[in-house]
Amino acid sequence: MGPIRGSKKKRKIEFENGFDCGSSEEGSVDWLDELSKRIVGSVSPSKGVDQFESVFKVSRKTFNYICSLVSEPMMAKTTKFVFLNGESMSLNDQVALALRRLSSGDSLIGVANFFGTNHSTVSQVTWRFVAAIEERGLHHLQWPSSEEEITQIKSKFENIRGLPNCCGVIDTTHIMMLLSATDQTIDVWLDRKDNHSMILQVIVDPDMRFRDIVTGYPGKMDDASVLQKSYFFNLSEKGKRLNGNKLKLSEGTEIQEYIVGDSGFPLLPWLITPYQGRELPETKTEFNKRHFATRLVAQRALARLKDVWRMIHGVLWRPDKNRLPRVILACCILHNIVIDMEDDAFDELSLTGQHDSGYRAEVCDMADKKASLSRDKLALYLSGKLPV
């Protein structure tokens, strides 16, 4: 069904003004009013902000910011997307559609019906949005570059449960997929819980912001292998990352910058894992408690990611395995944007710690001598037993 003659031009003018209006409250209310007439379930501006946030999972302020971020790459291409009634989609419409697709977890047809368009348009608009957000929004997902930023992070981590000089928490989660039985690589994607999945490894700061992600590796790989294949590992091993100021714990005892991770990761000078085994001495038990409490930040961040951006929450039906990592990246960027915008919607959502239900922690027994000594000193320091 082609666009109605004349209406396209009219809509184009509306769009040109519409985007400008997007930044102003009045204009965006107009747009929302139009959209609410079109979509099933009607998101009416009169019903308040809450409903908008429940549908698109971002506040109006964040929505406008995302629109401004992706406007150039999304509108650069000449292809016009239309609703079933022939009206062309404005930038706001496209962003709303893509956010709905990523956040609802509904099928293409479900989202298409919701917006009054066809599933092919939903797919194309979402993909264009993903490409645009990764092109323009990647600065929201990066390792802290300034000294000030890293100092702030360390301080916040210390405030959680006292771990000094800690720069992040590393964790992994599985993005589940339902693959075709004819897929020749099906075995590689089969993880330890007999699900087909893709691994997402994240390093999180105390504000639940993703600072580094690695994704695309198959579920069969263990956490340690994914880490070892990452550039973060390379950089840290070469002393090009986590190479900031050492902290003096006591006379002659210093601790370098590090991140913390669960027992699935190797114990390295820059990656501190908990003590393993039962019936540990008090200092070690205390250390493990603090360690676990600090690690909760990453678990919550991943749970929030999957909770809000539900497209990667459930089991994806035969996804394109080359495109899925990019969708995951887009979701992570959006997750960070919501935090960076200090979105109220973010605070109101419930915090669950479950992101990988049913997956028990892996155990990696690889340990570095020097790291083992550092951990002992850290445990003594935290229990106040380190000789001054």
Binding site: L138, L141, I213, Y217, A224, K229, N322, K369, S372
Partner: protein, 310 residues
């Protein structure tokens, strides 16, 4: 009952005049065998005449092949000019040679079974060029210090080759798209090799992104390699430093549980080993061969001189 339903060929409606009038169903009248022979020979004769071949009763290919050369000899063709003037002994040999020549030409064009390769026309020799040319150095002519280094290089190259072969043989391969935000160029097409719990990552061959391969700092590896070549042409310190680093690294890693170590540490050790091969490149060592032996190992030192001059 059965005899009623059976129709003899003479009584068959197909032979009735009515049906024979229909051109579509009319079978061609069987010509007498003799006239057929005559007709076919006529067109063959016409064809032969048109092509300038003498008329003959022997129209089979074998006979043609055996006699054509003799006939051709008579004509003034460019082929015959090279053949020496006929004499009594040559006639038979010439015919055989000509037949072989044509047989070989035909066997080149079509699959005709075993034919002895007697002629001057031979199959193309296989390409002499190596797929991955290596520098050939006469070790005996080198001074003892260089000799040791060259041996190390060849050993490393062999190890590298073995690893590559292993990768191709026993490992399952999977193409994956990996996103790693630690690098400015954050998207990669990778080839995953798996052998039980050991994973190896390689770059996808023939991929356009290969040109854009970046290292840990996000720098172009190709460019960096070139730079390294130039830089290390005059110094061999790099190798020693690298080896020392590797030694210290291998000392550092301690396994707590021997059983479970295999899963994780194998990956690391292998990657370290690979790193050693990658970074302690063979090129670097060869570059350090003194230029005084330039004449003896011209291939090596020339390359070095060239890159230094660039």
């Amino acid at each position: 009952m059965a005899s009623e339903t059976l129709i003899s060929p003479s009584d068959s409606p197909l032979n009735s005049s009515k049906l024979l009038d229909v051109p579509a169903t009319k079978p061609p009248p069987p010509p007498p065998p003799h006239s057929n022979r005559l007709q076919s020979s006529k067109w063959l004769h016409r064809l032969r005449a048109a092509r300038g071949f003498p008329e003959s009763d022997h129209i089979d290919l074998e006979h043609f092949l055996s006699t054509s050369v003799q006939k051709i000899d008579v004509t003034d063709s460019p082929l015959t000019r090279k053949i020496p003037p006929p004499d009594e002994s040559f006639d038979d040999n010439g015919a055989v040679q000509g037949r072989d020549l044509i047989n070989n030409v035909l066997s080149e064009l079509f699959h005709m079974g075993e034919i002895e390769d007697k002629s001057r026309i031979k199959r193309k020799k296989s390409c002499r060029k190596q797929h991955c040319p290596r520098i050939c150095v006469d070790i005996d002519r080198l001074p003892s210090s260089s000799r040791l280094k060259v041996k190390q290089v060849t050993k490393r190259v062999e190890q590298e080759d073995e690893e590559e072969e292993e990768e191709e043989k026993g490992h399952s391969q999977t193409e994956v798209t990996v996103i790693d935000t630690s690098v400015p160029c954050w998207k990669f097409e990778k080839l995953l090799y798996r052998s039980k719990n050991v994973w190896k990552v390689g770059d996808k061959k023939g991929n356009g992104d290969r040109k854009k391969r970046v290292n840990d700092n996000g720098e172009d590896v190709q460019k960096k390699k070139k730079k390294l070549k130039l830089k290390l042409c005059s110094s061999s310190k790099y190798v020693d430093k690298e080896q020392a680093m590797l030694l210290s690294k291998s000392d550092r890693m301690v396994a707590v549980n021997e059983k479970k170590r295999d899963n994780c540490s194998q990956v690391q050790e292998k990657s370290l080993c690979k790193k050693q091969i990658d970074e302690g490149s063979s090129v670097i060592l060869i570059k350090s061969i003194p230029t005084t032996n330039k004449k003896n190992v011209s291939g090596v030192s020339n390359g070095c001189v060239k890159s230094m001059q660039r």
